[in-house]
Symmetry: C2
Subunit: 232 residues, 2 copies
C-alpha cells in the first residue's frame, strides 16, 4: 500500500510541481486547497485541473479569513505591479503578503493529514518567494516542523512530518523540475490580479515569466488571450 | 492608548480566565472564537456572554474542518465518560483530541492579530490539559511562538508574541485566579457532550468539578437543571 501524503495545492505553479514530485516519489496524494477569499479565486479551478491530472483527490476547505491585512484579499486595494518596486515599498515584504497565510494552511494540512492518516505534508515554499514572504523561509519551515512534531499525536509518535522539496530551488529550477515530471503548466495559475487572464504585470506574473525564460522554456499558459500575449 | 491583544475564547472556563487576565493586565482585548463544527456549539453562546462581560469585542470565525478524526466532531461517536478510563483507552491522548486544533486556532489568531495590529496573542492552554493534549504542552507552545517570530511580518519585527499565562496552573489554580478576577463562571461552558445542560460525566465536566472542589468554591453553573445537579 502506498504511503499517504497531503499536498497543499493552490493551483499555482509551485504547488503543482510539488504535487507531481510527491506523486513521483510514490505517495498516494490528497491535495488540499483553501478558499480563503483570495481575489484570484480562479486559481481554485486550476487546482481542480491539476489534481485531476495528477490522479489526486482534492479537498477545498473554506476559511473565513475576512479581516484583510493584504492587497490579495481586499478588492479595493491595488495589487502592486512589478517585482522590485513592490519590494521597496514594503521594506522587503510585499503588500500581497497575507498575514500568517502559510501558517494557517499548514495548520489545516496538519489537522487533515492526522485525520486521514497521512504521514507527510508537502508544501511548495521556496527560496525566491522566501525573499519576500517570511512564511516561506527555511527557518520558518523548520519551526513549523517542530510544531507538528510536538503538537500532534501523529507527530509525537514520529508518524507525521513536513516536507518542502522546492525550498532550495529558484523559479527556473522549479519549472525545469516540473517539466521533467510532466506538470501541465498550461493549467496552473499564477496571476494575483483577479482577472480571467494573467495580467502580466503583477509580482507573480513577472516572476513566472522570468522563471520560464531562465529555464529556456515557453509558458504554455500564454497566448490564451490577447492581453496575456504581451506578458512574456 | 491601550495595547491590543487577541484572546482565543472558546466559551470554556480556561479561556474566560485568560480573557479576564489579559484585560486586568491592561490590554484592549479582541476575543476570537472558532466555529469548527464542534458538537458542543453551545459554547459559542457562552463565548458571547463572556466577551460581553469582559467588555471585549468578539469575532467568531467559521472553519470548515469536516474531516473528523475526533469524537468531539463526530456526532455518531461516543464522548468518553470519566477521565482516567478515557486516558487509558487512547494511550494517554483522549479521543476528544481534535487533530491540530490549537495549531489551527493559533494560526488563525496570529493572522487576525497581525491584521488588526495586536501585539499579543493569549491562549488558555495549561498543565492539566497538557497531560492529555499534545497541543497544550509547554514545548509545543514554545515551538508555536517560534513560528510566529519567524513566519509573520509582525513577529519578525518583534511586534507579536504568544502568551499562555495559565500554562503552569492546574484547574483549581485557574478557578482561584478567575474568582479573584471576577470571571462570571456561571456563563462558562465546559461539557463536551453537546447537550443543553452539562452531562457531568465527560472528561471536561469531571475535570471542572474536581477543579471547583480543589479551589473550595461552588460551581455557579450547576443547579441550572436537575441533570446537572448530580454532577459535582
Amino acid at each position: 500500500m502506498k504511503r499517504k501524503a497531503v499536498v497543499l495545492l493552490s493551483g499555482g505553479l509551485d504547488s503543482a510541481v510539488t504535487l507531481f514530485f510527491a506523486r513521483s516519489s510514490g505517495y498516494d496524494c490528497s491535495a488540499l486547497a483553501v478558499d480563503y477569499g483570495q481575489r484570484h479565486r480562479v486559481e481554485l479551478e486550476s487546482a481542480a485541473k491539476i489534481a485531476g491530472a495528477a490522479g489526486a483527490s482534492l479537498k477545498v476547505m473554506k476559511l473565513g479569513i475576512d479581516w484583510g491585512g493584504s492587497s490579495l484579499l481586499d478588492k479595493n486595494s491595488r495589487i502592486p505591479l512589478g517585482r522590485s518596486a513592490n519590494r521597496i515599498r514594503r521594506g522587503g515584504i510585499p503588500s500581497t503578503y497575507v498575514p500568517g497565510r502559510n501558517t494557517v494552511f499548514l495548520s489545516v494540512a496538519a489537522s487533515f493529514a492526522e485525520a486521514i492518516g497521512a504521514g507527510d505534508i508537502f508544501i511548495g515554499a521556496h527560496t525566491e518567494d522566501s525573499s519576500g514572504y517570511p512564511d516561506c523561509r527555511p527557518g520558518y519551515l523548520k519551526a513549523f516542523g517542530e510544531v507538528i512534531r510536538s503538537g500532534t499525536k501523529a507527530g509525537l509518535e514520529g508518524r507525521l512530518r513536513l516536507r518542502s522539496p522546492l525550498v532550495g530551488l529558484d523559479k527556473s529550477g522549479i519549472i525545469k523540475l516540473g517539466h521533467r515530471l510532466g506538470v501541465p503548466f498550461k493549467d496552473t495559475w499564477s496571476c494575483y490580479s483577479g482577472g480571467r487572464a494573467p495580467c502580466g504585470k503583477c509580482d507573480s506574473c513577472v516572476l513566472r515569466a522570468k522563471g520560464f525564460a531562465g529555464a529556456g522554456l515557453a509558458d504554455p499558459s500564454l497566448g490564451k488571450t490577447k492581453k496575456a500575449q504581451g506578458y512574456a
